[in-house]
Symmetry: C2
Subunit: 428 residues, 2 copies
Amino acid sequence: MRYVRNITDVGHLEHDADEGEDKVAKKARLEQLEPMEIVQRYLNNYHRDMEALGVLSPSIEPHASGHIIEQIEYIKKILDAGFAYESCGSVYFDVEKYNKEHHYGKLSGRNIEDLISKTRTLDGQDEKRNPLDFALWKKAAPEHIMHWPSPWSEGFPGWHLECSVMGMKYLGETFDIHGGGMDLKFPHHECEIAQSVAALGHEAVKLWMHNNMITINGKKMGKSYGNFITLEQFFSGDHPALEKAYDPMVIRFFVLQAHYRSTVDFSNAALQGAEKALEKMTETYKRLQHLAAAEKQSVELPDFMTRAYEAMDDDLNTPQVIAVLFEAAKYVNEAADGKIALTAEQLSSLRLLFDVFLVQLLGIRMAETGGDEKATKALGGAMDLLLQIRAKAKAEKDWATSDLIRDELSRLGFSIKDTKNGAEWSIK
Amino acid sequence: MRYVRNITDVGHLEHDADEGEDKVAKKARLEQLEPMEIVQRYLNNYHRDMEALGVLSPSIEPHASGHIIEQIEYIKKILDAGFAYESCGSVYFDVEKYNKEHHYGKLSGRNIEDLISKTRTLDGQDEKRNPLDFALWKKAAPEHIMHWPSPWSEGFPGWHLECSVMGMKYLGETFDIHGGGMDLKFPHHECEIAQSVAALGHEAVKLWMHNNMITINGKKMGKSYGNFITLEQFFSGDHPALEKAYDPMVIRFFVLQAHYRSTVDFSNAALQGAEKALEKMTETYKRLQHLAAAEKQSVELPDFMTRAYEAMDDDLNTPQVIAVLFEAAKYVNEAADGKIALTAEQLSSLRLLFDVFLVQLLGIRMAETGGDEKATKALGGAMDLLLQIRAKAKAEKDWATSDLIRDELSRLGFSIKDTKNGAEWSIK
């Protein structure tokens, strides 16, 4: 499996149309930094946040600015195929001509007549034969910081081009899956399809997968709405709209509770709900590890494993997988509370279920696995000792000591639970 | 301050001469991977290791393969200046001609006659006018995976070129400091100087700084010597030559104990020495935080701050800085042991010294600051409670409980020290 995630460090203009300033260049101008300094900073933060969320890193992470030659070569192919034209040093894709032979808009179910009727006039549009045409190469205005030599002008590639070009370079002329947010379906992905068909004579992507947008308290999130919250702010709680900090695993669990094709609404209530659910899940996972097996079972277990796999096979239905895990959790906790008896075989099938689906597949880090293991291990030992002393004190009716331990621990944020198998502890 | 660290993902040939296979391409061929997949994997590991070591990330991290156009433009400048020539689709720098007007070898104190007498014949050298000439552009052999179009051939840039080109692009025609290992002084940095002078008419670098090499048990480290140990292996201890795992901060502290211009010999004994020294330093730092101030001082403190700054001003003499910190540590520990009395003013000057030089400048993370803070905090609370119970038990002559706590804690790897200010603990 090869996973390519490209970094758009050039060519993404403000209006997602072919006009306006380059987004990176603008930020660089405002902050008086070298454009690539901006890119590096955002890229570092992005990597840091993705790692916190446990998102696997891609096999290759190519930069658009690092593939100018490849983009120029690709533009030549489209020109040779007759689906593009040069105009005032820029090169535009001829959508109308393309649409005569192919369907521009097939992915988003649009058709060109409706599109034309909707398009408003943009400045500099006169360069184009048709308002729907999009730039493959833009001649750089004098104040434009980032530009490269090309057969047509000192300029930069259009932002739809990089994906087709780097996709072909690193995944081949045809590849399996192309992901992206729903907001990129049109025009970005339509333009990618048109570029591939024009340059290669066939589509490059076998399957398009689009995740839905998130909303904040019911409103679309966006700088313009003033309700923009970064992952870093979610992790630190440092944002007026946030009641508290949310652990990256809580965010991850919360997102997986919704299907990737449905919208997710971020609200403090919803996040704290996910937090509680994850705590319950983690608690159950820990209890499952230390659960002792019974000689003979008192109940049959449903075939959770098959049901979880079926849920994933159903277009990655992660909410369904989580529902299965919670149903399985009931059995674990009843066994831990001595209400039912599970055999070694049943326990190991439950452990496999949680390890495969919760840890490996949903990628939820269990508290034990992450963090400073030295301190975590030491803490485990110290807590066992404290609870042992508390048990001893209770047995000897030394209430002063046992109360001291109980009160101090709860003051420190531990919660202690007495079960028939002894006391269990966790950090609130 | 802008810090640029470039990634050589193309053009670095096996023999550091102009022949042999591209290092990245070779690994890709052997592992049947896309070259950039290799680069990404090594880059991810590199970033992970640098972060573990607390090395600050650069402002910009440009890739050689992402600047082919810029390198082609730079080669044109050198050709126009008459210091390079095309030969069989490759372009070579004319060292002999350059040396008539400038001194090739000035940085490493070599002169061209000695160099010529030393050079052995390489295959394909016939393309060159002189064995010392180095490639600016190499025509790609048919089996070569990575190649780009150029005015001279489908090929790739020579590996000396990228640094001059990306340095100029991101730091300007003249910049302050160029770092690197001593092994790069010749020929790499000599060639960089020649390229800048040829293309720009002046040198680009004001100050060259070269760090010395490390050795393993007295031997030069290298794949060929079979004594190659990666940082990851040092951190995990997973290497036959390593007696144990070494914390990244131990490695960092160990390296800083030597001056950057002297060699560092990695041996288990030396690393374990550094480990002990760092533990002592960390211990001292912790005690300093909780030290109570005396009404009046019993001793004068030397002006450690000035001496530490003077050491850094002396070509980054970090071993001297560490010596100053250890001298200061003596005072901290004597105060903690009640042997001397320090005023609040003296304590805050000591705290400032350790924070500025140990933490901020040498970048040594103190145990408290790193790791899973939740577990670390909770552990602190639990240990305080345990030691409180132990003190109580002792007072009540409940030796059973006090012994249980002492024995269990040492079994868990804690070391407990009774001081006149109460018991101190640490994890072994």
